[in-house]
Symmetry: C2
Subunit: 333 residues, 2 copies
Amino acid sequence: MRDVAALSGVSLKTVSRVINREPGVSPELTLRVTRAIEQLDFRPNLAASSLRRIDGRTASIGVILEDIANPYSAAVHRAVEDVARGHGLIVLAGSVDEDPDRERRLAAAFIARRVEGMVVVPTGEDQSYLAIEQRAGMSIVFVDRPPMHLDADVVVSDDRDGAAAGVRHLISAGHRRIAFLGDLTSIRTAQERFLGYTDALETAGLAVSQARAVHGLRSSELAMVATLDLLDETPPPTAIFASQNLITIGVLRALRARQLERRIALVGFDDVPLADLLVPGVTVVAQDPARIGQLAATTLFGRIAGDRGPAARHVVATTLIPRGSGEIAPAEV
Amino acid sequence: MRDVAALSGVSLKTVSRVINREPGVSPELTLRVTRAIEQLDFRPNLAASSLRRIDGRTASIGVILEDIANPYSAAVHRAVEDVARGHGLIVLAGSVDEDPDRERRLAAAFIARRVEGMVVVPTGEDQSYLAIEQRAGMSIVFVDRPPMHLDADVVVSDDRDGAAAGVRHLISAGHRRIAFLGDLTSIRTAQERFLGYTDALETAGLAVSQARAVHGLRSSELAMVATLDLLDETPPPTAIFASQNLITIGVLRALRARQLERRIALVGFDDVPLADLLVPGVTVVAQDPARIGQLAATTLFGRIAGDRGPAARHVVATTLIPRGSGEIAPAEV
DNA sequence: CTGAAAGCGCTTACAG
DNA sequence: CTGAAAGCGCTTACAG
């Protein structure tokens, strides 16, 4: 900037005014400065600018996701990006892979860069470490799972009700032996969806589930193996509720391997790509990650803009999409 | 930092030494400083640090993608993130949506933040605007498509050869009327894949394709409509080569709508989720986006570390995966 | 082993 | 409409 000032024969302050489009610079000086900027290939340094600025704005936010490559995270990320772009901010993002340490390290990296806010899918059992930043004025919105030991905005799916609706759908098709396949019980959404499953069973008077629940299925491979085991039991379940994306895919592979995809009913939580093209189509309780991300970002920017209301909990509705697999009647035993 | 120095009764320089783990601070002072940091919830400001540092390191890189939410981009992004994390850097990312303006704006935003390097999927017809930064020492690696009017490292798939292999596969199954469905011809990969298609036809002596090529299909909906049109021609193609992800999905929907998925052969370029679970399975020429991202990031960090060799072009091989749809013999006319 | 002074590239708070 | 001085939070290049 000094070089630009020297070349155009004005003060630093005038260059600064031109760059920031502050009013009240004569057309002539503006032109001289603009030319010097061109000529010198001058690139403003945002770090220096925000360091000195009274509001310290860095025009960036951080997004902490489970895995930026999985479709749910990616859709949330994209929705956040779109809102951020509308506000002129850029997005830093990282994957945590269900490792609380990485959650903290990512948060620290973002904080060291003075992001104006964060969107976080929490992994650890304790987000109180963020209280300091929150008090210091950083806005944080949680997504998918509520924070623990911290009061903050959160945007979640109606996991429990959505899962209950999916299981009720199977019950109303006549099923009694409905297996549950779930992720680690340490994950809040997995807990909620399991509660929805038991809710539906109890309401239907099926208090004691006749089929097993299997937890801790971290991958579609594990889900496939667990499904094959379930199918070997006597009697096997007549229906399966898969409480997550990857698990649904594992179940599909297992059913296909046994050629049971037209005999055993399946409802999955969270939509699966090309689910409508499979035969039968896969019935799911679909989440709306784009809406979730958009709502989280909007809430975040509201906070950044100064909204000081009490922390809100936004619940985004899920939608049951019947496509065939969930409408299969119980096979005769 | 000033407060920490005051509270622990040492100079700024000593605090700086402790934070950066420079050797030669007495254990006693180290302890006092560490305690003061805890007590004051001190958070180092990386922007201030890199502003003053002689090397100006910001410990961040930028990634410019077509759309962070699409599976190809997301896989590249994730692979880059993993390499970056190994080096202790964080990643800024953004989507361009095939809009050259947004490519430039994103690049400018990253440059203003002084990223140490960028991984770019170029959209515009001219990347010479980055020459200035390159000369100023910023490392840039291109992915998926080579840069135009700029000399830089690039990591691409073997689009032309891969597409040719896919089309040869159809020819060897007996097909003569093979339609081509492609994206905008302004996209380099779309051009290359079309060249691969014509290569394969010519080599087989099918110089004049008996079936049409349709370009400019930006979405799976457009691809579906184009496929329905093709199927209405007399005679219709007996096989389809879909040169991209979303196009393949559109073709699948069209074939399903006409119940022709077992009669018309299909090979897609780039893999499709759950392709193995469809009936018939979808034969594809699979790319390896994780490998591409990893190679791009490794190349980038090599440059950042000081590698001054000539710009390299890395070609990542594609793999033909026969799953059923590509092995259908031509239907009797 | 420790610290005082200068300065990175900007904006602020003035003054004219 | 324009500019000189101070300072954001750090590290550098010294000196002791």
